[in-house]
Symmetry: C2
Subunit: 331 residues, 2 copies
Amino acid sequence: MNDDFFMSLAIKQAWKFQILTLPNPPVGCVITQNNMIISISAHKKSGSPHGEVGAIKQAYYNLTQDKNILPLETSQDIHNFLYENHNNIFSNCELYTTLEPCNHYGKTPPCSLLISKLNFKRVIIGAKDDNKIASGGINSLIKENIKISYAKEKESLALIDGFKKYQKNQLVFFKYASTINGVITGGYLSCDDSLDDVHKLRDKCDLLVIGGNTVRKDRPTLDSRRVNGKNPDILIYSNSKNFDKEIPLFKIKKRKVFISNDLNIMKNYKCVMIEGGGNMLENIKEKVDYFLIYLTPQISDKDNIKPNINLEFLNYEEKGKDIKVWASKRK
Amino acid sequence: MNDDFFMSLAIKQAWKFQILTLPNPPVGCVITQNNMIISISAHKKSGSPHGEVGAIKQAYYNLTQDKNILPLETSQDIHNFLYENHNNIFSNCELYTTLEPCNHYGKTPPCSLLISKLNFKRVIIGAKDDNKIASGGINSLIKENIKISYAKEKESLALIDGFKKYQKNQLVFFKYASTINGVITGGYLSCDDSLDDVHKLRDKCDLLVIGGNTVRKDRPTLDSRRVNGKNPDILIYSNSKNFDKEIPLFKIKKRKVFISNDLNIMKNYKCVMIEGGGNMLENIKEKVDYFLIYLTPQISDKDNIKPNINLEFLNYEEKGKDIKVWASKRK
């Protein structure tokens, strides 16, 4: 139990909301006191409290059992309540945040202000923020005599690398589900938790790219009905324009559907999810930033997908009976 | 953050020591107070303190910062110290243990006695202990007016199922390392952390079964030199007795090496690890209780292994750059 351990917990919590926080970065936060874990939290979606505020709110309740904080939902309300009621209970606490606390009034007041007013004993930072508007949190904390340390910089940078790509230009990830021996067809189907998860991601993507053969064979809907979300535009990657327009994906309203072999269409979109099999992956792998793999619990007697790609595992977590793995290309 | 969440933490901690605790069961323990995590621990090896004692020792230090407990290593010493010094600090704490606390004087004094003397607010149990000698902990706690709850029984039973097989008769697991698309040859090699882990397991196994072709091709040593451990006996599963005796595995002292196509040799051993490829797995899968898979970060362009087996994922954890997965056959 050391700084690396607690920062890893914060990073793992934040990965659960990868993509879902866009256009904000994923940020995780852990608060400790004498090596005890007082709270664990993460930023969940744009407009809701930052990871630090969620963790501080929960820590306040855990330490005091004062229920008055529980109904407060906006960052401003939580800030105001804590300024009046903190009673210095955080002065022996340490706060681990995967990203330098924000230092500006945006949709929410600055986390750096809250942390320094509550007089935390020490703040441990994963990655520094290179965003010109939000950064400056570390300097603000130092000015207020808060002790600063650093931990797990590489992993904390990896956590927000997708967000940075999104912010600068575009984020592209390839999603597939396979058995644990790499079989994507005729295998065990993904569990409900994994399917829900895919629909949450579709809700956040603005373009979904899919192979023509998959569309002809699976006749998919490609919506986000499981979470009542938005439905991304579709690019069917295909040389032939010949598709049965009764396939459900064409019936979704307020959606553009492109049928084309020109991947340049992707350039008009900020967050692109690609769904497909081995051929699609082979054709498109140079354009992919991240791989999202749902591993299902089976060793299958079928052939695996086999484009040759060196990976780096970034995170894995339980999704019902499956394992959800995020990976990037190995550098 | 509820009973299931905290019990899952305890279960995950215990899985890290699966096999390594033999002839004892793996047991994990988490102590909380008002939803704050005061300590996390697990039983590490036979003769060392039980999971509960390790967690209580760490919780005492975290809550009091009294360093006098830190040098104490035996359960008896920790018990004695806590009886005198606990000062009722645990009366608002809850203890999550994956297995009913032991209730007898074995190599260590009974955990049930310690827990009731320290007057925990509540004890949450994963699995009941059906061992006739050690069981009775729950009844002892109830007699001392400790409140009992239950959580994650299925997962807690799965954690100790291998131990039960070992105790009753024999535990057999098949280990392989593959890329994330199921390729075990010519792929990316396992990382150092995974290799260390395999040597720790070999140290605890009494027989290692390996295919003849693998022995001829890889010329392995099959020892546990990375952890200075014991070296298991070897069964080379082969129709031909013809092997170059210069292959390093034959040079290891105090080891029997069988060369045979008779798997009944396995029956003389309590803990059997099988290492091999797809053919070996196909031939032996009926005899396998558990699968231990080290997934390496690569999608390879080679063929996968493909015996058809429906699995249930039991646990996965980080091993350096790899993912270590425990699975059983799906029931």
